[in-house]
Amino acid sequence: MTPAPFTYYRPTSVADAISLLTEHGDEAKLIAGGHSLLPIMKLRFAAPEVLIDLGGIDDLDHIRVEGDEIAIGALARHVDLELSDLLRAEAPLLAHTAGVVGDCQIRHRGTFGGSVAHGDPSADLPASLMALRGTIVVEGPGGRRSIAVDDFYTGFLETALEPDELVVELRVPRVGDAPWGYQKFRRRGIDWAIVGVAYQSEPGAGGIGLVNMGPTTLRASASEAALRSGASHDEVAALAAEGTSPVGDGAGSSEYRRHLARVLLSRALAGRSTT
């Protein structure tokens, strides 16, 4: 079904995109790969008056080393992350996670920045960004600022982005071959995760991100604290659902989701990943 009508802009620079955002404010939606927005526009659940297509900006899809970090342009597509030799070597959790998003066609269109900015708690990539303690670089009329991933998600489909800001880059530390695991539990290959767990080990510690365990992407703080105190993996996994508030729906009751979080964390800690 065709979306409701809108005014379409195709800026060719970030600066132009920001001035359009400033001009149109809440009436405007950004579109990059379009795989979060177009599906709901087709069903007319969303009908923005103005659509600002970032597809005309051609210098925002980099994946490169910058000091101790990997810098990834917001318009890098999931497939670019998935198949990046650099990312596979320096932050393999993120490359793997990009490869379990949606299907090939979706990964050919969807962008890392779009997935992060959408703020959907059932998305995979934000959980791995959480496990990696990444930062989100945003740009607005006043220039750029960096937001830690822990400060970025403020509510269901809500982020710390101002209406006139857009995500321009994602940064994660270079972790090399340190152990990691990504568990995405779903009935069918194309389903969103019923629950997902991202784990990235750190010296004497570890980062753990949770998918679909509350209104936002969550950090498993109790488990992380247990890891730092030297607890066994079983003890760490047992705390996976502490402080979470998963919803119950047809795919899983909240009790089932809490149970899954514990089981999946145990598997992720063992370095096991789902494909």
Binding site: M1, T2, A4, R44, F185, R187, R188, G189, I190, D191, I194, G250, A251, G252, S253, Y256, H259, L260, V263
Partner: protein
């Protein structure tokens, strides 16, 4: 010299590649929505968002004024006929009819209350959002058991009940005081048919009363007859024609209420009108299954079943109709492969405020076999007899065929032990049981389950549909043309019929043209459903081919000055004189000769043409054994299919490549129903599975490659020796997978979980046992 006894490579039994494929693979072939229909308007249906209500008012003012809108129609504007299937006229109250454009009452979410017709599809969608309907809510009943309660809200108050059908049946003699009795309630939930091409139609009025319906259907001639009846038209004025049809699986057998509506509107507006069903409409309104079975088996201590008593409660949705047929078919197969001396069964069909149901792959067969085979496993467990062994002890013995079961169902031929043994061998059943014992002993967190299902069904046995039409004609270019009354939509009839022609006439399959699915060019036909086409259509082709060969022999004998008895087929060439290698006539020459008054033998017509048709008089009984091997993650409840062995017997296989394809598709549907797929409604009758995000249609990533094999027990009901195969995969696989998961969980104290076996349901059952 080439031997005449060697079949050409494209004959019966060859793995002939499909003649259909090049057009489909290149995007050249067209489906209904691809057709260029000049001046066609686009229809969009406004459907009820509430499950049961009185329609107070429909305000079409804003929609009518919207850009591009030609008409916004309600029941007050257009004369829409009531839709009622004559087949069920004897079974149910006349009051249960449906008018495709609802007037006073809506009975399910999706009932149509208005139709917007506009110049473009987007304009029609835009305007449909502006139609305002005022509903006065009525009490809703969704649960089929609740719908049978004396105080349940009634869908058709005039009938005094929601039970549209309530038919008891009993036959045979029940042995008194059976030492063993097991009972199992088996839910067989709703699912969606999901042809990848949804419904689509273009209704094009012609001169006078003439109307052409381009549409996606499995049964063009049946559609023509029913539509003409309902629209009060002369069938001669109504042409029904299908371009490529993107799958049917039973969901495109009815003359859709939607099609009736579009046809009526096109006649009303006197302009071409087209409509393509959206996927959400398809998942909502093309649903099937929906039964609740109670099965009681009585047996001796050594596992001989002496009686089956069963009841089926079938939820046929808001308008009882085709769904009733599935319940009746299921009854006939309730004794399955087993020689049981006594049976009783009650068919009950109940109206609820949910989508009306339609047939789906198997259409009653998988339902019965699933209920029976689940209960057989319960009996095996009760008696501590191996599931394979208990089946073997109860099989109808080979010497009893043809066999009429206590249900009154005739099985023409079968050898159940043969398929069981072959499946056990291919699966390495003993090895699997040993692995299972080992893993159970070691406390493996992933439980291995092995599930067996043995099945028999009846193909091409629907009353009034046990024969079909085909013609064969050879033209002067040496090609044969087959015209068939069956109507393929993925099965590959062109290819297999061409193989039959090749086999009987020596004309290569590549030189066979094919005509089907158009009431203007095919004199008659019953379409394709119920695994009927190869055995009926294929046989009709064979009989026609044989007659044409006889005609051609007379021509050849006449021209070659030989006796017709001495004329033989020279494959790839034409006809020749036996023992005289170079005295041959090509098929094209024969066709030219017969058209030539000077050269035609006087007793022949001027065409090499025959269309004797074929009437089988009854059905045939395909059968088989399926074994599923699953692994159940006891921590998460997730079931993973490890292996699937299917041994099917459909008599003579004309094309092994295509036969396996039929089995594969059938298996996927059965496996899908057990592990992923179900159509659901909430307590208010709101559907919750109307997109592929919610409805669990599996992809390649969720399924495996299957191990398929065939045994061959030919039928004598047709000269091909062939039985149906389209529904076998589904009929056998549901119980196999269900039994496998239950087999994995049995040591954990779980006897039965109803479908679908989602991870949460399995996990919950394990939790419930622990606490």
């Amino acid at each position: 010299m080439e031997s005449t006894t060697v079949a050409p490579p494209s004959g019966v039994g060859a793995r002939q590649m499909r003649l259909e494929d090049p057009g489909l693979l290149t995007g050249r072939d067209r489906f209904t929505s691809d057709l260029d229909i000049p001046g066609a308007l686009h229809a969009v249906f406004v459907r009820s968002p509430v499950a049961h209500a009185r329609v107070v008012s429909v305000d079409t003012t804003a929609a009518t004024a919207a850009d591009g809108v030609v008409a916004v129609l309600t029941h007050k504007d257009v004369d829409v006929p009531r839709v009622f299937f004559p087949t069920f006229g004897e079974l149910i109250d006349d009051a249960y009819h449906r008018v495709p454009l609802a007037s006073e009452t809506v009975r399910f979410v999706g009932d149509i209350v208005a139709v917007v017709v506009a110049e473009t599809i987007t304009q029609a969608h835009d305007a449909a959002e502006l139609v305002e309907v005022d509903y006065d809510a009525l009490e809703v009943v969704v649960d089929p058991v609740a719908a049978t309660a004396p105080d349940a809200p009634l869908l058709f108050p005039g009938t005094g009940t929601n039970l549209a059908v309530d038919i008891p049946f009993e036959a045979g003699t029940r042995a008194p005081d059976a030492p063993v009795q097991v009972h199992q309630r088996v839910a067989h939930p709703r699912m969606a048919v999901v042809p990848m091409e949804p419904l689509a139609i273009a209704a094009v009025p012609g001169d006078g009363e003439k109307l052409t319906l381009w549409c996606s259907t499995q049964m063009p001639h049946v559609t023509q007859g029913l539509m003409a009846l309902w629209l009060k038209m002369d069938p001669a004025d109504l042409r029904v024609a299908c371009p490529s049809v993107g799958g049917g699986f039973g969901g495109k057998t009815p003359a859709e209420p939607d099609y009736v509506l579009v046809a009526a509107i096109a006649r009303h507006l006197r302009r071409p009108v087209r409509w393509t069903q959206s996927r959400s409409e398809n998942l909502l309104t093309m649903q099937a299954r929906g039964h609740l079975f109670d099965v009681t088996l009585e047996a001796t201590r050594d596992g001989r079943v002496t009686s089956i008593r069963s009841e089926g409660l079938t939820d046929v949705g808001g308008y009882p109709g085709l769904g009733i047929g599935m319940a009746m078919t299921a009854r006939g197969l309730m004794t399955g492969c087993y020689d049981i001396p006594h049976a009783s069964h009650v068919v009950r069909c109940v109206a609820t405020n949910t989508s009306p149901t339609v047939p789906f792959r198997g259409a009653g067969r998988p339902e019965a076999i699933h209920a029976l085979e689940r209960t057989m496993d319960r009996l095996a467990a009760e008696l501590d007899i191996d599931p394979a062994e208990i089946r073997r002890r109860n099989f109808v013995p080979v010497e009893k065929f043809p066999y009429t079961s206590v249900m009154g169902t005739e099985y023409d031929s079968a050898d159940f032990e043969k398929t069981l043994d072959e499946a056990l061998r291919l699966a390495d059943y003993e090895g699997l049981r040993a692995e299972q014992a080992e893993r159970r002993a070691s406390g493996d967190e992933v439980a291995l389950g092995i599930g067996i299902s043995t099945y028999v069904e009846v193909s091409a046995g629907s009353p009034g549909m046990t024969g079909d039409y085909a013609s064969v004609e050879v033209s002067e270019d040496g090609w044969a043309t087959v015209v068939a009354g069956t109507s393929a939509h993925g099965q590959g009839h062109w290819t297999v019929y061409a193989q039959v022609v090749s086999d009987r006439m020596g004309i290569p399959a590549e030189k066979v043209r094919f005509v089907q699915s158009d009431t203007d060019t095919v004199p008659r036909g019953m379409g394709t459903s119920g695994s009927r086409s190869l055995q009926l259509g294929g046989t009709a082709v064979r009989l026609a081919a044989d007659e044409v060969v006889e005609q051609a022999k007379e021509v050849a004998a006449h021209l070659l000055e030989a006796s017709p008895e001495d004329i033989e087929i020279v494959p790839g060439v034409g006809l020749g004189v036996r023992g005289v290698p170079h005295r041959t006539l090509e098929w094209g020459e024969l066709a030219a000769a017969v058209a030539d008054d000077a050269r035609r033998p006087p007793q022949l017509a001027p065409r090499l043409f025959a269309d004797p048709g074929f009437e089988q008089g009854g059905g045939t009984s395909p059968f088989g054994c399926h074994i599923a091997i699953v692994e159940v993650d006891l921590q998460t409840g997730m079931t993973t299919l490890r292996r699937f062995v299917a041994v099917d017997d459909c008599g003579v296989v004309v094309n092994p490549l295509l036969a396996d394809g039929q089995v594969h598709g059938g298996l996927a549907a059965g496996i899908g129903q057990v592990l992923f797929e179900y159509s659901a409604f909430d307590d208010e009758g709101n559907p919750t599975t109307t997109s592929f995000a919610d409805y669990g249609m599996p992809s390649a990533a969720d399924l495996i490659s299957y191990d398929t094999a065939h045994t061959v027990t030919p039928t004598t009901r047709n000269p091909l020796g062939a039985k149906g195969l389209g529904e076998a995969g589904t009929t056998g696989s549901i119980a196999a997978v269900h039994n496998a998961v239950m087999d994995a969980l049995r040591p954990h104290g779980i006897d039965h979980i109803d479908l679908p076996l989602t991870p949460m349901r399995v996990w919950q059952a394990l939790q419930d046992r622990e606490s």
